[in-house]
């Protein structure tokens, strides 16, 4: 009997110990997570990170722009700018971060998307600082530059980058001041060769803000979403004066370019089509929410107001 009781007590004690230990462990983990989250929004003044892994391509760009490029030890599968990133280890991306590989790079700062809560907790438990990037407008881009500059010990470089960027954006705004504001449809996706699967920028996000700054009135600015898929009917009714397609890739041969532009001829009553103001722009910088938004704003302004912006 006693032996049987002892046999029973053993597992119970173990269970109690585990049960007792677990809440403590998870409370600690939660506290770590909270610290990490706070790190995301309000960077503290801890020692600068020396080894940074970035899962967010546009934040990688920011790191290089503020002079923290040499501290970057790992990047996401989609990073391709600046060229230095191509030589760095790839550690997955939003959906498939390779935690083991990231840990093996011994980072002291990992940059993730704000939506990657689980990964955030994992690194926090491993005692690694996590910066959660949240996608937004121009202000949130500048804020992210400020944050990563501070976290990597390049505060003054960060401030300079931000100042330059502000000046550059302001210069674009000044140059198009007084120009007629053209109703513009900013296309960010379309099926090749047809008018199907057209996605345009809505009234939220950095692309909308850059268009506004470059002297264009967003034809879909009233739709408070970053992107929307208008029907052919809606595009005809909105009658944009300028249509600009932004493509992240390289410019195709002239024949392809012409064919893709001609796709729009279907919507003959749209002023942009009638007046030959359908423009196809190519380049990774056009859609990157990072330090190259000044370049993108200039490109948009050049297309919208070719006479005042050279």
């Amino acid at each position: 009997m006693a032996a049987r009781q002892a046999k029973l007590i053993g597992p119970v004690v173990v269970a109690l110990l585990v049960w007792g230990a677990n809440p403590v462990a998870s409370v600690e983990a939660r506290a770590d997570q909270q610290t990490a989250r706070r790190e995301g929004s309000q960077p503290t003044t801890t020692a600068p990170a020396r080894r940074v892994v970035s899962l967010v391509p546009n934040v990688t760009e920011m790191l290089f722009a503020v002079g923290a490029g040499s501290q970057v030890v790992g990047v996401s599968s989609y990073d391709d700018f600046p060229a230095e990133t191509k030589a760095l280890p790839r550690v997955g991306a939003l959906l498939d971060p390779d935690t083991e590989r990231i840990l093996s790079l011994r980072p002291d700062l990992v940059i993730v998307y704000g939506s990657q809560g689980e990964v955030e907790g994992q690194f926090a438990r491993a005692g690694i600082h996590v910066y959660a990037y949240r996608h937004g407008g121009v202000d949130s881009i500048l804020q992210a530059i400020r944050d990563v500059a501070r976290l990597t010990g390049h505060q003054s470089d960060g401030d300079r980058v931000i100042r330059d960027l502000r000046t550059r954006l302001e210069a674009v705004r000044m140059r198009v001041r007084g120009e007629p504001r053209l109703r513009t449809m900013l296309v960010i996706g379309r099926d090749v060769g047809t008018l199907r699967g057209v996605y345009v920028s809505g009234g939220v996000g950095f692309l909308h803000e850059l268009l506004d700054l470059a002297g264009g009135d967003d034809a879909f600015g009233d739709i408070k979403r970053e992107a929307t898929q208008p029907s052919n009917e809606t595009m005809i009714v909105r009658a944009p004066q300028v249509i600009m397609e932004l493509h992240p890739g390289e410019q195709p041969p002239a024949a392809t370019l012409q064919k893709e532009r001609a796709v729009w001829n279907m919507l003959a009553s749209v002023p942009a089509v009638r007046n030959g103001r359908v423009h196809l722009l190519y380049g990774g910088y056009l859609l990157a929410a990072g330090p190259r938004i000044g370049l993108a704003a200039e490109a948009l302004a050049r297309v919208l107001h070719p006479d005042s912006v050279k």
């Binding site: 090749v192 060769g193 008018l195 996605y199 929307t228 208008p230 052919n232 809606t234 003959a268 009553s269």
Partner: protein, 344 residues
């Protein structure tokens, strides 16, 4: 099945029923196709639409009517009719009320083709060949060829059980490949593929419709030829054989025509769900189970149903659109559940 009670309706009686069903459901489909282009997210004036004195390029109302709405309504009618009648044929072929045009993997093969082009087409040097409809058609051909090879033995009737299992397995396999491609794609591409899978009738011109039409018409013609054999087939293969139906031939013809119809519809508008399962059942509730009646009724009702669903899709949240596949599922889903509960 009630078909067993009276698979042979007397000629004259059948003709009257056929005519009344075609006229009734035809009127419904015609009404849907006539009224739907008049409504939309914006108001247009019909007088202006047909005003020849205004050049077409200046006539916004005519543009909306002829470029945006007409191709869309026509696509809805064609795809609705095709999927609904392919659903009838699949249900008869497989002897399973849960069968849909998508059961045998055609649509998933089609989807894989489309997803591959959406993901890799724009960057690759594929150029003009990188067309989503073409790729989805190719995917459908590959999928049906695989299922056919797996499920048939020369000179023997197809085992519907093997056909069903092969189809379901292929669906799962292709779905896994689609997930893998989406996983490898970047976010915008992955989002676009998901959007394609919800179906979209906004084809933007008559060209894609003309491209799909010959396949659709060929399939519908074979369906019409098959109706009597399908009646006997749905009673049971043995009974059908004793009544002189060449089972193997009928099955093969049904399989190919239904696959062709599905491939054409999916390449035109994406895999729009629920039309192919709900419409045949709804129509059977109203007109009985004789395929000679059910098939034309389903085609016409399917056309009206999808055109109506698309009208909801493009107006309810305008200027934002609801994917039409979401509307058909939201209208069709509850209805189908109600049907299941009622049956049991």
């Amino acid at each position: 099945m009630r078909a067993s009670a009276h698979p042979h309706t007397r000629g004259g009686d059948l003709r009257v029923r056929f005519m009344s069903v075609v006229l009734g459901y035809g009127a419904l489909a015609l009404a849907a196709c006539t009224l739907a282009p008049l409504a939309g997210s914006t108001h247009i004036s019909l007088a202006r639409v047909f005003d020849r004195s205004i050049p077409f390029a200046d006539n916004v109302d005519a543009q909306i009517f002829f470029v945006a709405r007409m191709p869309r309504v026509l696509t809805g009618a064609i795809v609705g009719a095709t999927l609904a009648s392919a659903g009838v044929v699949m249900q008869a072929l497989l002897g399973n009320p849960l069968a849909t045009p998508f059961t045998l993997g055609v649509s998933t093969g089609s989807a894989l083709g489309a997803v591959l082009v959406i993901t890799f087409g724009s960057s690759a040097a594929a150029g003009a060949l990188a067309s989503v409809p073409l790729a989805s058609l190719a995917g459908a051909v590959v999928a049906s060829a695989i299922v056919y090879v797996l499920a048939t033995r020369p000179g023997r009737p197809i085992s519907t059980m093997v056909l069903l299992l092969a189809g379901v397995t292929l669906n799962a396999f292709f779905s896994a490949l689609i997930l893998f491609v989406q996983y490898a794609a970047d976010f915008t591409q992955a989002y676009r593929t998901i959007r394609w899978l919800m179906g979209d009738l906004d084809v933007g011109s008559f060209t894609p419709i003309l491209a799909a039409l010959p396949m659709v018409l060929a399939a519908l013609a074979i369906f019409a030829f098959l109706t009597r054999s399908l009646n006997l087939l749905s009673v049971g293969a043995d009974t059908a054989a004793t009544r002189g139906v060449d089972i193997g031939w009928t099955q093969r013809l049904a399989f190919f025509s239904a696959s062709l119809a599905t491939a054409a519809a999916v390449s035109l508008a994406g895999p729009i769900g629920f039309v192919g399962i709900v419409v045949p059942h709804l129509v059977r509730l109203m007109v009985g189970v004789d395929h000679r009646i059910v098939l034309p009724a389903s085609a016409l009702f399917g056309a009206a149903f999808l055109v109506a669903c698309d009208l909801i899709a493009r107006t309810v949240l305008a200027p934002i659109e609801v994917p039409v596949g979401v509307v058909t599922a939201m209208v069709g889903g509850p209805f189908f559940l109600w049907l299941l509960v009622r049956r049991s």
